[in-house]
């Protein structure tokens, strides 16, 4: 095995946490590699040195400060059980509202303007009819009412034209 192959297992070997197989591999390599043997010795020295670092004790009053902060934490009250239900209810209400809106929306879009527009169109047709009917220059009312141009102007609804009085037509003739 090359040095790189055993590197990852060296720390576990030094601190004696290597598995039996890892240990065998490292020992086999160390038997033929003076560089890695020296490295292992130095790593053991490092491990011992780290052990010299002194421990500290938490300062006086540490526990009291923790307890004070814990005591300041809001305790869950009797109404805490409501919180998840309230969230659930709000979510359900929003879902229902969204569903209703999505179902209604296309209908509103097409039906909504119609009631306002229909009387306007009807009124416009009546005015046109009256204007045409009163024109004195017209000799034949049927011709005027059947004009394509007028039917294109008022495509939605043509008011029922009153049947021209036969007598009046005849008299105009």
């Amino acid at each position: 095995m090359k040095c790189e192959d055993v590197e990852k297992g060296l720390i576990a070997f030094v601190d004696e946490r290597a598995t039996a197989a890892e240990r065998r591999d490292v020992e086999s390599h160390l038997a033929g590699c003076a560089v890695c043997r020296a490295r292992v010795q130095e790593l053991r020295g490092v491990s011992n040195l780290l052990g010299e670092l002194p421990a500290i004790e938490p300062s006086f009053g540490f526990d009291a400060r923790v307890r004070q902060r814990v005591a300041a934490e809001p305790q869950p009250g009797w109404f805490a059980w409501l919180v998840p239900q309230a969230r659930l209810a709000l979510s359900a209400a929003m879902l229902v509202a969204l569903t209703v809106w999505m179902v209604k929306w296309p209908a509103n879009r097409t039906v909504g303007p119609a009631p306002a527009a229909a009387p306007a169109a009807a009124a416009s047709s009546d005015q046109d009819f009256e204007a045409v009917k009163d024109l004195g220059v017209l000799e034949n009312y049927d011709v005027v009412t059947n004009m394509d141009a007028l039917s294109q102007l008022v495509p939605a609804k043509r008011p029922q034209a009153p049947k021209p009085d036969a007598n009046q037509t005849e008299s105009n003739d």
């Binding site: 490295r39 490092v46 040195l49 780290l50 002194p54 540490f62 923790v66």
Partner: protein
């Protein structure tokens, strides 16, 4: 029969404040030491340790024993420490260059003062400071890995869980960290320790 950490935490979840106090007593010192070695400032370390306990308490109602309690506890601590180090990186760099006022946070040295001559204390203080600086010179995540490995004596799986990496990645990380320390501490490695002492602050059993 002593209750396990998980059982204690489940008792906290059930409203037993005494169990929380028990956990506080058990882990206050390991947490403060770990955080002190991470951020190299005792006051900051204690603030962070308080925050760790507070977060544990806040999370008690949602606690589920899906992992070892210490994995959860030290993951919170490590994340807080890493954020603190990153937030204060520039300030800390200034402190480390001029020697740092936080090099004197070693009450155990004072406890031993009467037993040691002044020159011995100075030599030891220098050694300790060199070791501290060597640890501090490591990248934050490598530093956390070394501290959890060496001082908390955690197994590789638990450290990998705390640092959110694979065991293979952790072993590589530890090797790089110890290689850096080997170079940094080479002058001390060849010297015999002047005073035999165990500075380990292992986890309570």
């Amino acid at each position: 029969m002593a209750r396990t950490d998980v059982q204690l935490m489940l008792d906290v979840k059930a409203g037993d404040e005494a169990s929380f106090d028990f956990l506080l007593q058990k882990y206050r010192s390991p947490l403060v030491n770990f955080l002190n070695r991470m951020v190299r400032d005792q006051a900051t370390a204690e603030d962070l340790a308080q925050e760790v306990f507070l977060r544990v308490y806040r999370a008690r109602k949602q606690y589920t024993p899906s992992a070892k309690f210490t994995t959860w506890l030290f993951r919170i601590a490590t994340n807080l420490a890493l954020n603190s180090v990153r937030d204060n990186r520039h300030n800390r760099m200034g402190v480390s260059i001029d020697g740092g006022a936080d090099g004197d946070d070693s009450p155990p040295l004072e406890l031993k003062a009467r037993e040691m001559r002044i020159d011995e204390r100075m030599i030891e203080r220098d050694r300790v400071e060199i070791i501290r600086r060597a640890i501090w010179s490591l990248p934050e995540k490598q530093r956390a890995a070394v501290l959890l490995h060496k001082y908390e004596e955690m197994d590789y799986g638990e450290i990998a869980g705390i640092l959110d990496c694979s065991e293979g990645a952790l072993k590589s990380m530890l090797f790089r960290a110890y290689e850096t320390l080997r170079v940094e501490l080479a002058p001390l490695v060849t010297q015999a320790a002047p005073i035999s002492r165990s500075g380990r602050e292992g986890r309570p059993s």
